[in-house]
């Protein structure tokens, strides 16, 4: 198991390095010139342009720029934003925290409710409840998040006035202690709902078909033949086996925890990575873009690593296969 873990970690590190290089190159292949964006939309003297290019190292050949980027990255330095002149790392990390604050609880909620729904649906396979739950998850899966977000804003913020339309806290009366938490939750509710609905649908669809398949396995017959209640059969025998493919989907979802909320964040003006990302694209802010790509890639790699380990924890057969391979 330890050798397996080591091999997985080494593989993850190699992936991150490769992604860093690709992310660096992709942003440089994007159309548009950062100097134009920096200098502004007026005819600047060529001396000024070349001075700016030199300041940011843009006059160096591409391999040299890449090499410098990797050396700096190893020191935790992802460069400085062309736009705000702030260090990319702290800029991105600060925004990433806000994004995670929205995404992680939503993803956990979506995973738990999605699996619970799937078990209930599988238990009433082919009956009303099953069809209803399937329909709900199909709708949740199909609704575009920007549309749902705006509808929610219209209903709950504009018409009913129950919840704020945007932001993460009230600017006029942020409150303190419990009041601040409640204020946060009021802002959190609508965007979190949008994200939860989508990922819940994704999880529920996969989990339901997996649970239905497990219900027809022979070992379920054995569990019933022992005299176990249907409840015990479902939650103890079917669920644990049915979870194995669902873990892949949930892990995959968590891999998108940094970049999966860009649209939602835009609709609700949630001050996360989404806004930074959109601004960085609009301004050809290469260092910030590379930083976001890199962080998002690390999130995916970490999520995959966690998925692999979770797999081994849930399915003893994977453990054996891994030990043999490692």
């Amino acid at each position: 198991m330890l050798r397996y873990l080591g091999a997985r970690l080494a593989w993850a590190a190699a992936m991150v390095l490769g992604i860093a290089i690709v992310a660096f190159l992709i942003t440089h292949l994007l159309p548009g010139n950062p100097v134009d964006a920096l200098v502004g939309d007026f005819p600047a003297p060529p001396e000024y342009v070349s001075k700016v290019r030199h300041l940011f190292g843009l006059d160096q050949p591409l391999p040299v720029q890449l090499w410098l980027y990797l050396i700096n990255m190893a020191h935790g330095n992802l460069g400085f934003s062309f736009l705000s002149r702030q260090p990319v790392l702290s800029l991105v990390l600060a925004r990433a925290g806000t994004t995670l604050l929205l995404m992680v609880p939503s993803l956990i909620l979506a995973s738990l409710i999605g699996v619970a729904m799937a078990v209930r649906a599988a238990a009433s396979h082919g009956r009303m409840l099953d069809s209803a739950l399937t329909a709900v998850s199909l709708v949740g899966y199909s609704i575009p998040v920007f549309w749902l977000g705006q509808i929610l804003v219209v209903i709950f913020a504009v018409d009913l006035g129950w919840l704020p339309a945007e932001g993460i806290r009230s600017l006029r009366e942020p409150g303190s202690g419990i009041g601040a938490v409640l204020d946060f939750l009021r802002h959190f509710a609508l965007p979190a709902f949008c994200i939860t609905v989508y990922y819940l649908a994704v999880v529920a669809r996969v989990a339901r078909s997996s649970m239905v398949e497990m219900l027809h396995q022979d070992f379920v017959l054995t569990a019933r033949a022992k005299g176990l209640s249907e409840r015990a059969v479902l939650w103890r025998h079917v669920l644990r086996n049915g979870l194995i493919p669902v873990i892949t989907v949930i892990g995959y979802n968590f891999g998108y925890s940094l970049t999966g909320a860009i649209l939602t964040e835009t609709v609700f003006a949630w001050p996360g990575l989404g806004g930074l990302f959109v601004t960085a694209i609009a301004n050809r802010d290469y260092p910030v873009l590379s930083g976001i790509f890199l962080l998002a890639a690390i999130a995916v790699v970490l999520a995959n690593l966690a998925t692999d380990l979770l797999y081994a924890a849930v399915d003893p057969r994977v453990r054996i296969a891994a030990a043999v391979r490692a």
Binding site: D218, G227, L228, H237
Partner: protein, 331 residues
């Protein structure tokens, strides 16, 4: 056809007719099956694959979903309780205790992600609330001659024979009065098969429980059952003391089965076998279901279904016009 045993019958099945839906078709898997098992008795059911043996075994404990299988007629009683009309949670009253079941393929019938000890412990906790689970589980693996370390293993880490012992330990953990064994050794190699059958015999002697052993292998049944039922196309066609039925088979189907089991070489050098196939079961038979393959068929067979009639000593009965009183009178 009721069994020889009087008094305490742990299982009684009378004129059972079961259909199930398969790919939009109705299959009359069991059409007219009657059998009984007395407390402590070992009873066998023999027949080719597809004759309804396994369906019968599963219907006994309500293990075929009601949406799929339906009892059209007849009666099942377990320990004197009529379970024919059972639905949903009712079945939990008979499953495991008083009737436990072991299945054919011990790998697919064990939960792959649960330790053996947990799967056995579950049965103990459900049916033996007074027992300390770890102690009783250890006792159970001793009973089926498994090392105690097996409790910490997962099913895929064990051999086929060990898995079947786990299935047995789990069934015994329910403290059943009747053990239904549905082709328990079919998936095992010959040596392991012999070990498991020996173990079954010893366990029955130690625990005094009744057994319903289902097999297509007459050799297996001959050495392990007091009485035997021969099943064909959903009908119990012959029954009686095992030695009597197998040495003096009355029904032409049983004769064919016995000959095939002995791999008897015919004078022309071929192996004995029954020609033709088990009939399709899309509608219930009005005549003897074996008619199309029978080489002893006579005019009478084309007129009506033969009744179960005495065919020899020790409660030997067969459902065939050859032994029916009406036929004897005619001769």
């Amino acid at each position: 056809m009721t069994g020889a045993a009087g008094g305490g019958a742990i299982l009684e099945v009378h004129a059972l007719h079961v259909t199930y839906e398969s790919a939009g078709r109705t299959v009359h898997a069991v059409q007219d099956a009657s059998l009984s098992v007395a407390e402590g008795e070992a009873v066998g059911i023999a027949g080719e694959s597809g004759c309804g043996k396994s369906t019968l075994a599963r219907v006994l404990l309500g293990l075929v979903p009601a949406r799929i299988a339906q009892i059209r007629n007849g009666r099942i009683a377990i320990g004197g309780v009529d379970v024919t009309g059972f639905a949903g949670r009712d079945w939990e009253r008979v499953r495991g205790q008083p009737v436990a079941i072991v299945f054919q393929d011990p790998l697919s019938f064990l939960n792959p992600v649960m330790r053996v000890g947990d799967q056995i412990g579950e049965a103990v906790r459900r049916h033996d609330p007074a027992a300390t689970v770890p102690a009783r589980s250890a006792e159970l693996v001793d009973l089926v001659r498994l090392p105690r370390s097996a409790l910490r293993r997962y099913p895929h880490e064990l051999s086929g024979g060990m898995r079947q012992r786990v299935m047995l330990a789990m069934a015994l953990g329910c403290r059943p009065r009747l053990l239904v064994a549905d082709e328990p050794t079919t998936a095992l190699d010959a040596t392991t098969e012999a070990e498991i059958l020996t173990l079954l015999r010893e366990l029955r002697r130690e625990l005094g429980m009744a057994m319903l052993l289902i097999s297509h292998d007459l050799g297996v049944l001959r050495w392990n059952c007091d009485r035997i039922y021969i099943m064909y196309a959903g009908h119990t066609v012959e029954s009686g003391a095992t030695a009597e039925v197998l040495s003096h088979p009355a029904h032409p189907y049983t004769r064919g089965l016995a000959a095939a089991a002995r791999l008897a070489r015919l004078p022309d050098g071929h192996f004995a076998m029954i020609g033709g196939d088990v009939p399709r079961l899309e509608r219930p038979a009005r005549l003897c279901p074996f008619l199309s393959r029978c080489d002893a068929a006579m005019a009478r067979c084309h007129e009506a279904m033969p009744p179960a009639s005495p065919a020899g000593a020790n409660g030997h009965r067969a459902r065939c016009w050859l032994v029916a009183p009406a036929h004897r009178e005619a001769i």
